[in-house]
Subunit: 280 residues, 4 copies
């Protein structure tokens, strides 16, 4: 399945500012970037590209020294090849079966303070046996208990607050999913993505849980079809995976995001057939 | 029903210290102090007594200038006359029916940050109609979800933390009950008390909710019979109702508390007959 | 000195809502309400008035059952008679000299968690000897370290956050002053007020510290002359002293506040002559 | 300079538990492990070793299925070759000069919420020009303002709390150094280490700041000579760098740590000669 994606970010630069943009489609086993284009509004600004391979992230460092308007736009055509995922629901996994790299996603992080939620997670989800059942129960719980309210949270909001305030946006839903998994000793990571059929269009966030040796994708917002995503990167949480980190003095003016399957009809036929998905 | 109560508090004084003790039995409509005695280990230390009538509190201010061992002991015989409480479960109360004084117990306080829990309280208890049903559901929820673990919390712990950490002592259970009531616009206040049949013996804390014009007593710990209490004071939360506030440098060495019905057999016969109680 | 004050609060009522307004000028020893008028936009809405004498507060409970536009306006002419305050700077006060009622303002409260700041307050202000020097140093510290930024905080923001985030509005400045006083065992309380010469005009907040047996007024924002205030009420913090508590579903549309000396020239002559002031 | 190090960790296993130990000396450019030995108290327990190269960490995964006493001990002889560090104090660095890998240490993390401290850091250290001067000022500030108090904090304590509570242990001092650096756009990371001349002996924590292209070591506790360390690992903060992560049910019984230069006299001669050090 091929997707057309684009994003246009615009800023008012007040003084010398350096951006780290995390907006390019990832190169992964399931995802192939067929073509892509990057443009900025300033002829003399040359983005420096570097990778964070451990996060599948392709970072753009952009320095804009001159005050004024600045815009960066990215467009790409990406082929995503998801295959049906099968895993034994009966398997009772152990912390010993978690591989080295995945184990790092058990740690508490800025927005996912798992060390504060052991009791809560344990008591709320104790009657679930398998890892998959636990993660599914977590997603159900979040979907039922937390309200999606645009603008209800900000860049300081962490899962600890969302747990009691019970409202947030995709980022907060993902953080809450991650923190509850980790509190149950299930590795979980943040998944930053383009998403088809998201209204209003925007960057989206889901999370991946490590089940039976595979990173499976979950979206407690249930706002989009899980097979319509184009992955940007994964990470510990929004702290290391946000689409823009800004050092300097610049105000965001606009964010325009687009993601669509090239063949909408084929996509529509595929949706009901897909069950669990993995982008890893 | 008559009760014998006593408390002995001992401290190591390091430098000039002033204590505000809140350990004396309250004088209320339902409670009469028949006799009482106060002793300190220092002949030259004379407790200064003053009342906080709005809280039924009888405060003792005690200054101990000299370093060394210091002990204060209080014993009393108190008569408590509770009457069966009847109120119409069917009444749907409104914020307009709340009297002036009770309305002050809707405000958020140090350990009961009701302003942070509106969404949680609303979504968790929305299917309850009457004020009584809501408070009963809150107590059931706390009893089911929070574990009583001695030493699991400290003087900084607030209801916000207990909600996610899911463990605490009587003080934390009371704070959580209060904050959830207030978040549902039900006035609620902290109730500091002596308690019969509490093991190990200690000061105890419950909370009162304002239902149908009366302050009703609730104890989400369910550790003691509610008709075996001797009230010390009520307040916004533990910040203004704790048994000792210490200004200076003194370390607590011991707290010994005792509360027992004078006629144990009569008390045993009474317990199963008592339903809802009010100490106001 | 006479002042003309007024406030007009307007709301969009979505469903049955009860307001507790705290906007009327207080009756105190230093302040006399010469005339006042209260109007609402709804003929059938009759405000119920009650006092919280311990806080000098004159509360208006107003129920608006019908959806739509609602407005309440208050105007008054108030005479304020401040006298020069003298107290011995040399006095080293003790917790034992604090009177009963003032001692209650040592407790931590919702937005002033003094129990979390003992070490900070002690180490930062330890080289000050008298109570007055300590409070003055606290105000200097806040004025120097915290930036006044409109809209930088919200109704959940407490002094703990302001201490690290270093920005806020008058409410946050007052909370920080209060919490640092209490952490040094100096009683302190929130002071809600009308204020002359405040731009843009709005309700204002300062704090009172208990020094040498008197409640002295301090304003770490330094935005207004301290002898141009008309007191509304005092309290533990903004939790029990805010100008409007809303139970129901209503959105604020506008707040218009005015405060001005009737004789501007006389006021201008008086300002440089006033030193410390007390409205208690 | 050669060092002898050892650590013995003992536990009471209550049920099947998996440990991730992070106690082995790192292999780095400046540090060479000459010999080492690992022992456990259970013959059938075979530690599984894996590396986190990005953190110089050598992790031991140990599963102990049987309840009872369990002990792991590690001893090693390590050669550390520090060279004098020279860097131009005059250089004003820019975010653009930070290399790819170091830039990841600008992100906020579990215990170092840099996103909450921009204003504080900026206003407190704004009069320092170079990166080195800023980091040095941060260490001076921490050393002056925060008290080292054993047992004053716990595994939940973050830099945000230490900033106001002003007491903590080496871990808290390191977190505060890290968060203030990051808030000033200086990459900083946690440094877990063995330390000579630490009384009482224990694991120790410092932090590294990225200055002029090098990771320089700083220790705001000033408890030990900086050239007497044997590095274990670096990381974002204590969340991913602690000496033991425990999944299961086990209680720590004891931690015995030793670190000493083989030639004490040579070490004593070297100390006054060493200035700034880097273990990277």
């Amino acid at each position: 399945m091929k997707f057309k994606i684009s994003s246009i970010l615009s800023y008012q630069i007040k003084s010398d500012t350096t951006f780290f943009f995390n907006i390019q489609a990832a190169h992964t086993k399931t995802q192939k970037v067929l073509e892509e284009q990057l443009l900025t509004s300033a002829a003399n600004v040359i983005p420096e590209s570097f990778d964070r391979p451990a996060h599948n992230a392709r970072i753009l460092r952009v320095r804009v020294a001159d005050p004024g308007y600045f815009e960066i736009s990215y467009t790409a055509t990406v082929e995503v090849n998801l295959r049906p995922v099968k895993f034994s629901n009966a398997v009772l996994e152990s912390i010993n079966d978690i591989d080295n790299e995945a184990a790092a996603y058990l740690f508490p992080s800025r927005y996912c303070q798992a060390d504060r939620m052991y009791k809560f997670a344990e008591s709320e989800f104790k009657n679930k046996n398998t890892t998959f059942e636990k993660v599914a129960a977590i997603c159900n719980w979040i979907h039922k208990k937390v309200h999606y309210v645009s603008g209800s949270t900000n860049a300081n909001t962490s899962a600890l607050e969302t747990l009691t305030q019970r409202e947030g946006v995709c980022r907060d839903f993902a953080h809450l999913g991650i923190v509850l998994c980790r509190a149950l000793s299930i590795p979980a990571r943040y998944f930053a993505t383009y998403a088809s059929r998201l209204y209003p269009p925007d960057f989206h966030a889901c999370f991946e849980a490590y089940i039976d040796g595979k990173w499976m994708l979950f979206d407690p917002t249930r706002l989009v079809p899980l097979n319509g995503l184009v992955k940007i990167a994964h990470g510990y949480d929004a702290a290391d995976t946000s689409f823009a980190n800004i050092y300097g003095d610049a105000a965001s003016i606009g964010v325009e995001v687009m993601c669509a399957p090239l063949d909408e009809k084929a996509f529509d036929r595929q949706i009901p057939k897909m069950g669990l998905v993995s982008y890893a």
